[in-house]
Symmetry: C2
Subunit: 343 residues, 2 copies
Amino acid sequence: MSDSKIRNMDDFASVSGISRPTISKYFNDADSVRKSTRERIEKALARYDYQPNFYAMNQNRRLTKNVGIVIPYMSDPFFAEIARNVENHIIAAGFRPIVLGSQGNPEQEIENLNNLRLLKPAGVLLAPLGRMSDSERIAAFCTEVPTVLFDANIENVGEAFIGSDNNQSIGLIVEYLCRTGEPPAFFEMRKPTNPNALKRRNAYVNSMERSGHKPHLIQVEGEGWDFEEIGFREGSRVLADRTLPTDTILCSNDRLAIGLLSAAYQLGLQVGLGENCALRIAGHDDHPFSRYTCPTLTTVSQDYTSIAKKSAETLFSLIETEQRAQSRETTLFDGRLVMRGSA
Amino acid sequence: MSDSKIRNMDDFASVSGISRPTISKYFNDADSVRKSTRERIEKALARYDYQPNFYAMNQNRRLTKNVGIVIPYMSDPFFAEIARNVENHIIAAGFRPIVLGSQGNPEQEIENLNNLRLLKPAGVLLAPLGRMSDSERIAAFCTEVPTVLFDANIENVGEAFIGSDNNQSIGLIVEYLCRTGEPPAFFEMRKPTNPNALKRRNAYVNSMERSGHKPHLIQVEGEGWDFEEIGFREGSRVLADRTLPTDTILCSNDRLAIGLLSAAYQLGLQVGLGENCALRIAGHDDHPFSRYTCPTLTTVSQDYTSIAKKSAETLFSLIETEQRAQSRETTLFDGRLVMRGSA
DNA sequence: AGTCCATATTTACGCGCGTAAATTATTAAT
DNA sequence: ATTAATAATTTACGCGCGTAAATATGGACT
């Protein structure tokens, strides 16, 4: 295989018989060297499995092909899924994605941005935590690195925002629920961590009033990101009380709905559309798990694909033009009704 | 707040009136400088919010306080949970955790190790992918960096292995199921990706035979890590066939069980212990979601806490003694029966 | 005041790489 | 063969920091 260990680019330059600056050039852009040179390098690369030190590279380059992706929660399948989507676009465009999760912690979010800055990224795609986020420091970061926000908006921070049209999506499912049964109550956290939650609350109220129904907010207590637990605990309480003015509950997101479904099951309440069902439950987001709940969860899917694509494209155009956006544009995609068993 | 931007340690040394090497020493170990000096540094730190370049630090140090944690899948709540647990121990011991997920991809797993190596970690805690893993390259990595394996074993790789005693845990739940109803069939993937799955299969067969029952393996097709989908799809098929010789199914892990529960629900099969139940389903792992399934999932919990603690401690002792383990020790923790609604 | 030890500073070099400028070699075309 | 264009090499420096050795400084003590 290999002779002595290749420890750095100098070593590799020696064994391949090509000067270090040329090797450096090759790794920067393989097509920027003569074809015969490229072949010699690649032959040597096959013999000695050298690869340049990623961090040392980034330390010296003005700008790299790195693109950061920061999401609020790594272990939330919803964010994992959208991050994977964005990642694919980044790779396809010849960039290198670096995904970081903030674990619901605003300090971690800032640290993620700090660490990214050291890698001299060409740009960053950021889905901020929301209410908890240290928006001042995020704004400061955005002045240094071209940043596109997605999923959750922070007013006037970043070059653009791409997300879902909560008005449309909530309107869609409220209309559906009203049309097929009793008008829904809205199940949410009293102090939601996410700006989307507030938008959805307002959208619900507006949508209900527009169709002449009285809105009914079920605002439960709970902190943090353990939404299933909150949905279950508070859902159990609310359902046991039997003070609901309706048999239909629309949850602010699928994870709350998953907890609520579990609570309903344990109280012996049949959920779904049938005659012998006591309750209808709907969610929002089309969480990967929502197709395995019992019954499967009726929800509104966010347009993952479009959000990911548009976010990436917006960032790429910023990177190419090497200038900031003249005006901060907001793009909202429509949700799609996903009818399943629960409502 | 601050005057001109502090760009590096030199700048910060100037404004704080202390020499750069002393600053460097402070950041390495705050107690290694005189108290009065420390106070001066920290006063300057409050004024100018400088922090050293993480990657430049690691480039030059022989050894750092970094500890890598590599898990097979970031968005699997089970691994997310155990990683969080390990992380806390690392922080408590004054080290800096760096968590990386391999997304089920063996190449990503190797790349994660490569990237970690560049950060000169004091040690690494690795939960390998299993069958898919490039065990040769992992072994090569382990000769360079002290590495402790957990969750999934690779024979003779790394300094130690800490995991669950699948024999004990499967024995426990098989015994429970036999005692409280019909002996279980075992639902698993025909070609599991994880070595634990194979151990569990054998443990099931042994356990059944020991108590005089005929084992029955349901080995379903399916690749990858989308276990819920496989559990649902193949579960639907198996249940619809109605060729099962028993009404009790033990799944190789909770994620399969979650899919299977969903399949049973959709086929109108009542799952649980009651007289009018057609099926009992049990899992393994005590996945965070297993308490929200309908019905809640009876399972065996792995001793997260102990595995995380022991893994971290084993690594710390390796780091302290600065030498490799004389012999590769394997530590297995007992599982605990978690009785819920499904069996 | 003088001694000693701990701590701080100065100086100088190294890590693995990017990059610019000047020089030399190669290639393709005239 | 000469020329011009292109590519490669040499040389030299910089990035942000660690670290070692020599030197200088401060405080506690006799």
